[in-house]
């Protein structure tokens, strides 16, 4: 104890650490299972850093051609790049090397997956609203960076599968108008594949991109602390308080323990299940390719977009080639991603709501937003499934043409269907909530009245339970009104139209008056 006191004093006199402890030590974090998704992302990133550092000690990104002399018999004597050779050596010669490769790859898959789910949680609960719009944008950039890190890392072993992935990137870059051939030439340092791309991607993968990612994670965390975490509606919880566990000790123990759980589960998966068996693919060679080629899951939506384009979309105008079959998916995906990044600002404009929101909404209580989200998810899912179109066809014994046409339908029409179904389901759930808040729930107790009539007794909710069902925000569409100079601007008409679309179907929360009139 005396030592602790001495050490604390020593540090504080040199760093003023007590100020930080005072400010943050008892900071409150609300509790909900969905709040762990972001934590999973953060912790799997730490696992990626640790396992990746181990890998850099053994990996050599050179593309110099050598003959394989390692212990894996089927590849002995085959020419390959040093990068592929050293990846094989990590897998086959170094104790724990294969484990670390698999930990790194599984953690990367989990990293992107948990970021995606975390974004969906934030989107569907409206946790991106003021004051968190900027943090949403930072999170979006983290998502894009995670995919970029995943793709660059996946390319490093220089195996046949990842080489074909780079070939596709090369083909897409070449389709870029005006500068495509040049960008590809400079990126690869020669004609494809060249001997520079792996070392270049290596620098991006282990230095530049992680540095940006760490900086953005820092900004993400700082804003999380400044804004404080959102919480779900509940008795005693308001927009002006945070209810939950203090950082010291409960949250620190839970979060710290959770880091070890995430790490442990990743290592468990890596010790039991193979991922990316590069020795089966062979070294990169532009001529062979294996059937069933597909990228890691998070690049699937981009690959699927390429697959869904109908044939013959290319035009030559004044001798210059426009490859619509690549440009349409490319631009389409950029628009989709931009819409996701900018959504908070669009919604804020439509609602005109400039208040701060700290209560996470239940998705049903904002039917239009939830329906938009469902449409986006369906669009993404259509593209994503298309990246496995050939495997779907072979596994389910369907024709590839049929699968592609079905997925074209899912991607183009599916979002609209998902939108309408989701919106109706949300409204129905809101009606159901209203019904339960007013009349209570069916208790299952059947009573026979003296007159012979049977009724089921409805049990009223207690005030605490009811609060969860009635405490949501209500909005109404914006009315078009002339401004100070008596004009109605086109901008205002658009805004009113969007607002009407956003809010015209709505269920009002139960009021005190309604509740009381029910009771008598």
């Amino acid at each position: 104890m005396r030592f602790t006191g001495w050490a604390a004093n020593y540090i504080d006199e040199r760093t003023s650490a007590s100020t930080a402890v005072k400010a943050l030590g008892r900071k409150i974090f609300p509790d909900h299972w969905s709040f762990m998704l972001g934590e999973v992302a953060l912790y799997s990133f730490v696992v990626i850093l640790l396992s990746g550092t181990f890998l850099t000690f053994f990996f050599d990104p050179s593309m110099t051609e050598v003959e394989y002399e390692g212990s894996y018999v089927p590849l002995q004597g085959i020419p390959m790049s040093v990068a592929y050779h050293s990846s094989l050596d990590i897998s086959f010669e170094i104790r724990g090397g294969l484990l670390m490769r698999q930990v790194h790859h599984w953690a990367a898959l989990l990293f992107v997956a948990s970021i995606g789910l975390h974004m969906l949680r934030v989107f569907f609960t409206g946790a991106f609203r003021k004051p968190r719009e900027l943090n949403w944008v930072i999170g979006f950039l983290l998502f894009v960076l995670a995919m970029a890190l995943g793709f660059t890392g996946y390319s490093l072993p220089d195996d046949l599968l990842s080489g074909n992935g780079l070939r596709i990137i090369d083909g897409m870059i070449k389709a870029v108008p005006v500068a495509g051939a040049w960008i590809s030439y400079l990126l690869f340092g020669d004609e494809f594949p060249g001997t520079d791309i792996i070392p270049r991607l290596y620098v991006l993968h282990i230095l530049l991109l992680p540095a940006i990612l760490v900086a953005l994670i820092g900004a993400h965390m700082v804003l999380l602390i400044v804004n404080k975490h959102t919480q779900f509606a509940g008795p005693g919880r308001t927009n002006d308080n945070v209810v939950g566990a203090p950082v010291m000790p409960v949250f620190a123990a839970k979060a710290g323990g959770f880091f070890f759980l995430v790490f442990g589960v990743i290592v468990l998966i890596a010790s039991l299940f193979t991922i990316n068996p590069i020795w089966n693919y062979g070294p990169y060679d532009p001529s062979p390719v294996s059937a069933g080629t597909q990228p890691d899951w998070y690049i699937g939506f981009a690959d699927g977009a390429l697959r869904l384009i109908p044939p013959h979309l290319e035009t030559v105008i004044f001798g210059y080639t426009w490859s619509w079959n690549v440009l349409i998916p490319l631009v389409g995906l950029l628009v989709f991603l931009a819409a996701a990044a900018l959504y908070p600002f669009l919604e804020a404009w439509v609602t005109g709501d400039k208040r701060e929101h700290h209560i996470a909404e239940r998705p049903r209580n904002n039917p239009t937003r939830t329906a938009i989200g469902a449409a986006g998810v369906t669009f993404y899912a259509g593209l994503w499934a298309a990246a496995s179109s050939d495997l779907i066809a072979t596994h389910f014994r369907l024709s590839i043409e049929g699968v592609i046409h079905a997925l074209q339908f899912v991607t183009v029409v599916g979002p609209f269907i998902a939108y309408f179904i989701t919106k109706r389901v949300c409204l129905a759930l809101m009606r159901k909530d209203r019904e339960i808040a007013l009349h209570g729930y069916e208790s299952g107790r059947i009573v026979r009245l003296p007159g012979g009539e049977y009724i089921e007794v409805h049990e009223q909710l207690d005030d605490f339970e009811r609060w969860k069902l009635v405490s949501y925000e209500e909005y109404q569409p914006l009315m078009v009104r002339p401004d100070a100079r008596g004009r109605i601007t086109a901008r205002q008409r658009v805004r009113a139209g969007l607002s009407r679309w956003f809010f015209e179907d709505r269920i009002a929360p139960v009021t005190q008056k309604e509740l009381e009139s029910q009771r008598h």
């Binding site: 323990g257 010790s271 869904l308 290319e314 400039k354």
Partner: protein, 359 residues
């Protein structure tokens, strides 16, 4: 700056650093605020845990937690034991699996022991009450903001940033210009040649033999039977000292023989085939994957990356999938020894499209 916007300018609230009207009520937009909404009932009564009520259970939980931490120590020790006890033995691939499995399971136990222990500790034993913290508006207080504006104004006055517009504008110009060298120095990422010229030529030229990939042995026309497909590289590619893969990425070819009555050829390309044997570029015209799958009954080629289908019987035209153009055809014939040779290079660039392709 702030007093310029003093007073309402009409429309929406003026977005100034210092707002004169009450800052505590930002616009609710189109939100409805009802007077008779149900009131927040406040916190529900707290429910105690078994460990709060029963000292025996508390003691048991304590033992469980420390047991889990001890298990973690055991796991970490086992991992080191596994590292030594399951070495990788050359010539025995199954030892890699065992090393991976037991090392991994040991580390897993070490990690999960701590994880489960810590979470159990926090849930069962640590003080379980929920605490409440007040939120404050994210914006700084009016006083702070006024101070910040004052600082900016003072800085502006002392430096003359706004007043000395010539200094400011030339500075902006200089800052915009400085990154230009940073862009320029990336030109040498690639050699000085023009990539467009390179993309338009391959190793094929008149008299170059078609050879098998990867062995490089030449192919006799008589060896190409109906239904078979050969993966072909130009003679000499395997012996290249440099740029082997770059040349292969352009020159890879598929060779097939079709029954003469099935082969539909364009009038001007009748002499590009030899006795029903045709050679097409193997590099997909979509984004450049090898079009490696040949269906010998229908004579269709399928690209395994994005499922473009090409009909070899019909000048390799696109019949399905995202590709836009047919695969380029390599004109072939036989030399005096009966080996298949190219009559010339491809007559158009192979592989994915690029801006200057058709020029």
């Amino acid at each position: 700056m702030a007093d310029v916007h003093d007073g309402a300018t009409g429309g929406e609230a003026p977005e100034t650093a210092v707002e004169k009207h009450s800052s505590s009520a930002p616009s609710p937009g189109v939100a409805v605020e009802r007077a008779d909404r149900i009131q927040n009932p406040g916190f529900p009564p707290e429910r105690l845990r078994v460990t709060d009520l029963d000292p025996k259970k508390e003691k048991a939980a304590e033992r469980t937690v420390s047991g889990l931490f001890l298990l973690s120590v055991v796991g970490s020790v086992l991992a080191v034991v596994a590292y030594v006890a399951f070495p990788i033995v050359e010539g025995q691939p199954e030892t890699i699996r065992l090393n991976n499995l037991f090392l991994g399971l040991g580390i897993t136990l070490g990690l999960l022991g701590i994880g489960i222990g810590a979470v159990h500790w926090s849930k069962a034993l640590m003080h379980g009450h929920e605490l409440v913290e007040e939120r404050h508006p994210t914006r700084g207080s009016d006083e702070t903001r006024a101070k910040a504006v004052e600082i900016f104004q003072a800085a502006n006055k002392e430096s003359g940033f706004t007043r000395r517009s010539l200094v400011r504008n030339t500075l902006i110009g200089a800052l915009v210009a400085t990154p230009i060298p940073a862009i320029a120095i990336f030109r040498d990422l690639a050699p000085a040649e023009d990539p467009v010229a390179l993309l338009k030529h391959t190793m094929w030229e008149e008299g170059v033999r078609l050879t098998r990939d990867p062995s490089g042995t030449p192919i006799k026309a008589s060896e190409v039977t109906i239904g078979s497909a050969f993966h072909v590289i130009p003679e000499g590619l395997a012996e290249l000292e440099s740029h082997k893969l770059e040349e292969k990425a352009k020159a890879a070819v598929l060779l097939m023989r079709l029954p003469l009555d099935r082969l539909n050829e364009r009038e001007d390309r009748k002499d590009w085939s030899y006795d029903g044997i045709v050679a097409y570029s193997k590099i997909c015209t979509h984004v450049g994957c090898p079009v490696a799958l040949y269906e010998q009954q229908t004579h269709h080629l399928l690209c395994p990356c994005h499922q473009s289908e090409f009909d070899v019987a019909n000048h390799a035209e696109v019949i399905f999938g995202p590709a836009a153009r047919p695969l380029p055809q390599l004109p072939i014939t036989v030399d005096e020894e009966g080996y298949l040779v190219a009559k010339s290079d491809f007559t158009e660039p192979v592989g994915p499209s690029f801006w200057e392709r058709a020029l």
